[in-house]
């Protein structure tokens, strides 16, 4: 088996032959990731309404359904309507601590079976149970870390109470977000991700960050666009004006 030293050694040998041929040209970025993040935050305090409008446009452009409500209390009503239209019975959501909302109280009595993801450090049995629940769920409700306007993308960081499959296994994904999570561009998203990774508390939270742009899709058969291959067929984003 090749060792790390051997592998890198042969690369170095070849690199020595090319030294000075090309200029190294790294992309400029801020030396202080946290400070750069703060700059973006401040910009977005003013620019979020335009970003929200752009997000809506782009999200609808990738077949997402956009909703706007004035307070978090109205979110269960939107989910109820979505569930009724799809005749869905099983709703799974992130843990209330991660979502900022407990759907069990508001939807549980509506004939819907609402489950929430486990919090803390789930043991093997709890993880297996959750997997069965997730596999059966028809609607998955999550929060959003960043809503990226220029591409209509939702960025979700996995972690405690925030399983990665809630936005993947159910046929319908509903994401709830506020103005704090809006960013305009991929460039700004890069700034946010750089800041996340220098913060030890946040960077070790979960192993996966997903950029979700519309429903799961394929065009592998005769280039005919078809939705819901493996992930959700349908995606909804609910914007909450004030939390």
């Amino acid at each position: 088996m090749t060792t790390r030293a051997e592998f890198l050694g042969s690369i170095r040998q070849e690199m020595a032959k090319t030294r000075g041929l090309f200029d190294a040209s790294p992309v400029p970025r801020s030396a202080d990731a946290r400070q750069a993040e703060e700059v973006v935050r401040r910009q977005m305090l003013e620019r979020w309404p335009q970003a929200l409008e752009r997000f809506r446009e782009e999200y609808e452009g990738v077949a997402g359904v956009f909703h706007r409500v004035s307070s978090i209390g109205e979110v269960p009503g939107v989910i109820r309507r979505i569930a009724h239209e799809r005749r869905a019975k099983n709703v799974l959501s992130w843990h209330p601590g991660a979502l900022g909302l407990d759907l069990r109280e508001s939807l549980g009595c509506e004939g819907l079976a609402v489950s929430v993801a486990p919090d803390g450090h789930p043991d093997a049995a709890a993880r297996a149970t959750h997997r069965d629940v997730a596999a059966r769920a028809e609607i998955g409700v999550t929060g959003v870390d960043w809503a990226l306007a220029e591409t209509g993308t939702l960025v979700l960081v996995s972690g405690t109470g925030r399983p990665r499959s809630t936005s993947l296994l159910p046929a319908t994904h509903v994401a709830v977000f506020g103005r704090d999570s809006l960013v305009e561009s991929l460039e700004q998203t890069g700034v946010m991700l750089e800041a996340l990774h220098v913060d030890p508390a946040r960077s070790m939270s979960g192993a996966v960050i997903n950029f979700i742009t519309g429903p799961s899709r394929t065009a592998d058969i005769e280039l005919t666009l078809t939705r819901g291959v493996h992930g959700p067929k349908e995606v909804h984003a609910i914007f909450v004006e004030s939390r």
Partner: protein, 476 residues
């Protein structure tokens, strides 16, 4: 592709593809559609050109310090609880996967689309070792059921009609399915969902790996990349070592142009950033993460003629615009990577001799270079490759004789004039309606499929004095 099909010489493989009316239609529709989607996407994206320059600069800069970036990537992955393996050859990469399967008692592995695992023919090796590999990208799933190979980097089954897919599914999965992409996709969803939940191992490639954060990045539209990295207990990623990039900021530059180049989307449906196995407190995710860093002929090109091919993002844009690919499709090339970039990658992985014929399967029109998101100069490298074949005596003897002859004539003005005079006489029997055709001997191979303009009755230098006079007269 199997050795049997490679025993057929390339001209015959290409000829068979040209005769296949169905393939011709599918190729025409698919490539034209991809070209349009890409063009539209960049038309509304003025910053795209600058981003392409920047992306290229990142690739150049990364290669300059490749050893350091790989070390950093490996250190970070290990710090996050993952394992890093170093594979000098494709065979070694395969053995690492097989050993993991053996040690961990893996019986079934779900795979998301990965050219790196195609490159090392991992599926065949897994099957031989008693592990069932299941391709989960719809296109890859179709061709796996059909026992075929991908014909396009990003649309592996474009050569199949919905009718053929319906027949295939009906036969292989039991049932009678309508030839409707919607129905067929739903069938695959149901079939594969079960596999995701049952599999012991998930195998992926990597579109990028960010050195500074230890992040493996997967770009998919179907969501299978997410399934494969979330549900099985082991995740193995096989990655060509040149896929490493320095930072998250760099990643954003590539994301902004990759999907636009491939399918015309602003972003693909899912971009998945994986950092290590399941972290404490997480409900899901694999217990183990393994990254296999693969060389397989790449290091040789760091200082070689094909260096720029190491920038490739595998978007497939150069395939769609290539007049040769558009006519013959992916299978005729005979190797894992088709199209203009595929010729270079094949030469990189299997040596220059393997592309003796393929090096000429290009008109050098430069369309590939124009659409490449990182502006890889494919035509220049194809010319370099042809020169290398010539120099090393790999090219066929008539080719070598002709080029030696041509060089001798073209480097001597006297011989050139003489040659032109003789040629004018010698060509007479073969000029038909203003074109040279049906040349004798081995030259006939050239004119069988191409018309050449005949040598003009007067050379440019002979005409020049007259031209100059006319021009002087025209002056007021």
């Amino acid at each position: 592709m199997s050795d049997a099909s490679l025993r057929t010489p390339f001209p015959q493989r290409a000829h068979a593809a040209l005769e296949d009316a169905h393939l011709q239609e599918a190729l025409g529709i698919a490539t034209t559609k991809f070209i349009g989607l890409r063009r539209e996407s960049f038309a509304g994206f003025p910053e795209g050109e600058a981003l392409r320059d920047r992306a290229r600069a990142i690739k150049e800069g990364t290669l300059l310090q490749l050893d350091r970036h790989l070390e950093r990537l490996a250190d970070n992955i290990e710090r996050l609880g993952g394992h890093v393996h170093w594979a000098a050859t494709g065979e070694e990469a395969r053995d690492i996967v097989l050993r993991l399967c053996r040690d961990k008692g893996v019986r079934m592995a779900v795979k998301s689309k990965s050219m790196a695992t195609e490159e090392i023919e991992l599926n065949e090796a897994l099957e031989a070792a008693g592990v069932k590999p299941v391709e989960t990208d719809l296109g890859e799933y179709i061709i796996q059921l059909a026992h075929e190979k991908p014909s396009h980097i990003i649309a592996p089954a474009i050569h199949k009609t919905k009718g053929q897919v319906a027949d295939l599914f009906s036969k292989e999965l039991g049932g009678r399915f309508e030839a409707d992409p919607e129905v067929l996709t739903a069938v695959a969803r149901k079939e594969l969902r079960q596999k995701f939940l049952e599999a012991d191992m998930g195998i992926t490639g990597a579109n990028f790996a960010v050195a500074e954060t230890g992040t493996i990045v997967l770009v998919t539209n179907e969501g299978n990349g997410r399934m494969v990295t979330s549900l099985p207990r082991i995740h193995v990623a096989v990655m060509g070592m040149e896929k490493v990039i320095p930072t998250m900021t760099d990643l954003m530059v590539f994301l902004a142009i990759l999907a636009r180049s491939a399918t015309g989307q602003k972003l693909s449906s899912y971009t998945t950033l994986v950092r290590g196995p399941r972290q404490p407190g997480e409900t899901e995710g694999p217990e183990e993460l393994h990254l296999i860093l693969m060389d397989n002929g790449r290091t040789r090109q760091i200082a070689g003629t094909l260096r720029e091919a190491l920038y490739c993002l595998r978007c497939g844009a150069c395939l769609n615009v290539c007049p040769v690919y558009r006519q013959i499709g992916g299978h005729a090339y005979g190797y894992t990577y088709p199209g203009p970039i595929g010729i270079l990658l094949t030469a990189m992985l299997k040596g220059a001799a393997s592309v003796k014929d393929l090096a000429h399967a290009s008109s050098l029109c430069g369309a590939c270079k124009d659409v490449c998101p990182v502006r890889i100069d494919i035509p220049r490298m194809l010319v370099d490759l042809r020169a290398e074949l010539q120099r090393k005596g790999i090219a066929s003897w008539p080719e070598r004789v002709i080029f030696r002859f041509a060089r001798r004539i073209m480097t001597s003005p006297g011989l050139f004039r003489l040659g032109a005079r003789l040629g004018r006489v010698a060509q007479r029997p073969f000029v038909r309606s203003g074109r040279l055709s049906g040349l004798p001997l081995f030259l006939g191979q050239w004119t069988r499929t191409r018309d050449l303009p005949p040598i003009a009755s007067r050379t440019f230098s002979e005409r020049w004095p007259g031209l100059r006079q006319t021009k002087d007269l025209d002056r007021p």
